[in-house]
Subunit: 196 residues, 2 copies
């Protein structure tokens, strides 16, 4: 594999496992088998490396969401599969969402990086909100929900669930949250009358 791709891979792993400030170029260099100066050749500053990672993650996420849009047959399935993306990330060696790790740092993280994180986050919220609208139109979801609020809750809850999974090394922390989130949007028919 190309060296720069290896550097990005390992850098991303470190960000997901310990965060931006808890690893060094030396850590990456050791694992790739090169010197730190060679990493600076590919990524002049640590911020440059973070940016490359943010861009790659955003591309991968966009692709995954496009795939969901292309193949899911209902709004409910789309939401479930979106949540499944977080579960998949966790499955790759107990890793957290890299964007979440980069979101917490305030001015300790380069502004350029944080801007990319915001774009990632907001596009997730918007996609969920649109999916909620679709599900409301089809009668799958509760008609009284505010799509924007639900979008924000889904992203926040999934990111938080990842942190919980990390704290307890427990995948069910993520699964439980998914269950309640899906349940919270699903239309229920009580007393024989449909809510629409």
């Amino acid at each position: 594999m190309a060296t720069s791709a290896q550097i990005i891979d390992i850098g991303q792993e470190y960000i997901q496992k310990v965060g931006f400030h808890a690893f060094s170029y030396r850590d990456i260099a050791k694992r790739v088998g090169i010197r730190t100066a060679s990493i600076h050749y590919h990524f002049p500053t640590k911020a440059d490396l973070a940016m490359a990672i943010v861009e790659r993650v955003r591309e991968a996420t966009s692709a995954a969401i496009a795939d969901i849009d292309a193949s899911a047959r209902s709004a409910g399935e789309r939401l479930r599969r979106y949540c499944g993306l977080f579960l998949r990330t966790w499955g790759q060696g107990d890793r957290l969402c890299p964007m979440c790790m980069l979101a917490m740092g305030q001015d300790a993280i380069p502004e350029e990086v944080r801007s990319g994180v915001r774009d990632f986050w907001q596009s997730g919220e918007s996609w969920v909100a649109q999916t909620v609208r679709d599900g409301q139109a089809s009668g799958e979801f509760r008609p009284d929900l505010d799509p924007r609020t639900v979008g924000r809750t889904f992203v926040a809850a999934m990111e938080g669930a990842m942190v919980a999974a990390r704290a307890f090394t427990d995948r069910t922390r993520i699964e439980d949250v998914i269950d309640h989130l899906i349940d919270s949007v699903t239309a229920r028919r009580t007393g024989g009358a449909t809510a629409v």
Copy 2:
């Protein structure tokens, strides 16, 4: 104020704003107006300082929850006020939950500290679960909810909402999540029949 209390205050602020690995004893020393050696006198290692902070936060949280239990008049009010604790933390200068910041670090955070974080997290989940049971008994909340699942979702969603608030410097990210969470447990009467 006692120096050690000042050190804890400022250390906690740093943990909440940039995380455990993005500040140093030097940063604290400058703000307190002492030398780093004096901080080592009070807290021999950085892990010791983190532990002191974790213990103080847990005590404060226990007290706040005891206050809620003593004065809230319904399960719904209790949940709302629990969520309000996160909002209050954010209000103290855009700070995140210190426990969340310490939860993400994996082996980069001392195990002793992470153990304290787990206790904090789990006690929040359990308290919410018990409150859900109370609300179900009184008819306020949906009877079909699994209290444990809801407890986990509340804590995860609130912690995630804090991260979102940080990413966007936007308090409404937290408020929206609270609204949907409360809505998700509230019993609804549709078609004229009560769900119980």
